[in-house]
Subunit: 203 residues, 2 copies
DNA sequence: CGGCGCGTTGATGCAAGTCAAATTTAGTGG
DNA sequence: CCACTAAATTTGACTTGCATCAACGCGCCG
């Protein structure tokens, strides 16, 4: 591990700070060591699509071209480990098990990306919200039926390809239909998991 | 290369044949050696989302779980090289340069997946078609402005998250606006690349 | 207390979906 | 090569789900 230090650099990022900017030279590569990030792309007129979230242990900055194809922002206090792109190559030679982790991570992300393309391309607003709530549920380590939403309505909307109004209305509709209870703005109780699962898969 | 043969197996697939079925045990891994495939996911009621296409040289079957999360179908006569999942692990150890190719491929696909999430989540029908036409244009080795659509209207619709009627109408609208000419059903001439690029990026 | 950010709710508009019919294209056998 | 059929595409009329525009309510903090 002696050589690791000369290619890596630990750093902290303030909440809300964008530490990877779409279009900039993709010189570095990051590993999240603590906290959460959101990964998104923007259109010139401000339309935003959140393509994913990064948690502790996740890799960030896998770019195929010379520049980043996305931006990344700290959702809260964030700790990162930064590698230079060249350093990563050397590291990979040094630690074969890293290679495996990288592939696993890439596969996992690719599968998730496919799920999200189905959601964004073919699901209705109700189905998207149901899918989202269940995803949050599965992410929770305790599998509690009370889930905490880690983002605002704007975040949910940009993640699901909807508007904040539709998110709000749809959430309330699901509550009226007794599938969920909106305990607080960012806290929801899942009342009818089978119904939500049925809805999420779309039939 | 001696050991390669004992883990790999060349095979041909008939046009239209589905050779990877969503939900089945993800035991194998493929490399496309000739032809084209489409990769898609289905919903119980038949809604389909094409998540991508595989060409010669592409890897297929990167699954994170025990089962495939997608189906793959031969678009025409197709040649594949199949590896057992265990064989792949051994191969990776044997050929470090394969490792690199795998990572490059995964990165490229991840970047493309992000572009597609933006398209599916935030772009209008016109923007989607413009993006699609330019993608086909960039895929062509000769960069001809006459492009050949490698699929039917149904295929385009399932790729872009639209209906066949909207695809047809939008294509004709772009023709009326002098951005393209529909020479034949599957052959389109791009008349105004700057306008299409402007439209595709959304402003 | 008052302004401000965020969320909810309501009224209205419109892009894309649905349903259906017309038309073109492709395929098949005589 | 042509007639006939089946499939794909286009076109039209209509519907609808979500977006847009606009109030309104509610914490929260200076």
């Amino acid at each position: 591990m002696a050589r690791l230090a000369q290619y890596s650099h630990r750093l902290s990022v303030a909440p809300g700070k964008t530490f990877i900017q779409e279009g900039e030279a993709a010189t570095d590569f990051y590993i999240v060591t603590a906290g959460h990030t959101k990964i998104f792309t923007l259109m010139p007129d401000g339309r935003r699509q959140i393509t994913g979230f990064g948690q502790s242990g996740d890799f960030l900055g896998l770019a195929s071209g010379a520049t980043y194809a996305f931006s990344a922002e700290a959702l809260g206090p964030l700790s990162l480990c930064r590698f230079s792109r060249t350093g990563l190559g050397l590291l990979r030679r040094e630690f074969p098990e890293l290679e495996l982790r990288l592939m696993e991570e890439a596969s996992r992300e690719l599968v998730q990306a496919q799920r999200r393309m189905l959601l964004l391309g073919r699901k209705t607003a109700r189905e998207r919200l149901a899918s989202f709530l269940l995803e949050q549920h599965h992410l929770s380590p305790t599998k509690e039926i009370v889930i905490h939403l880690p983002m605002s309505r704007t975040g949910i909307a940009d993640y699901l390809g909807l508007t904040i109004e539709t998110v709000s209305r749809t959430l309330n509709a699901l509550q009226r239909e007794m599938m969920i209870t909106i305990t607080q703005v960012t806290q929801i109780t899942l009342l009818n998991l089978p119904a939500l699962e049925h809805l999420a898969r779309g039939g």
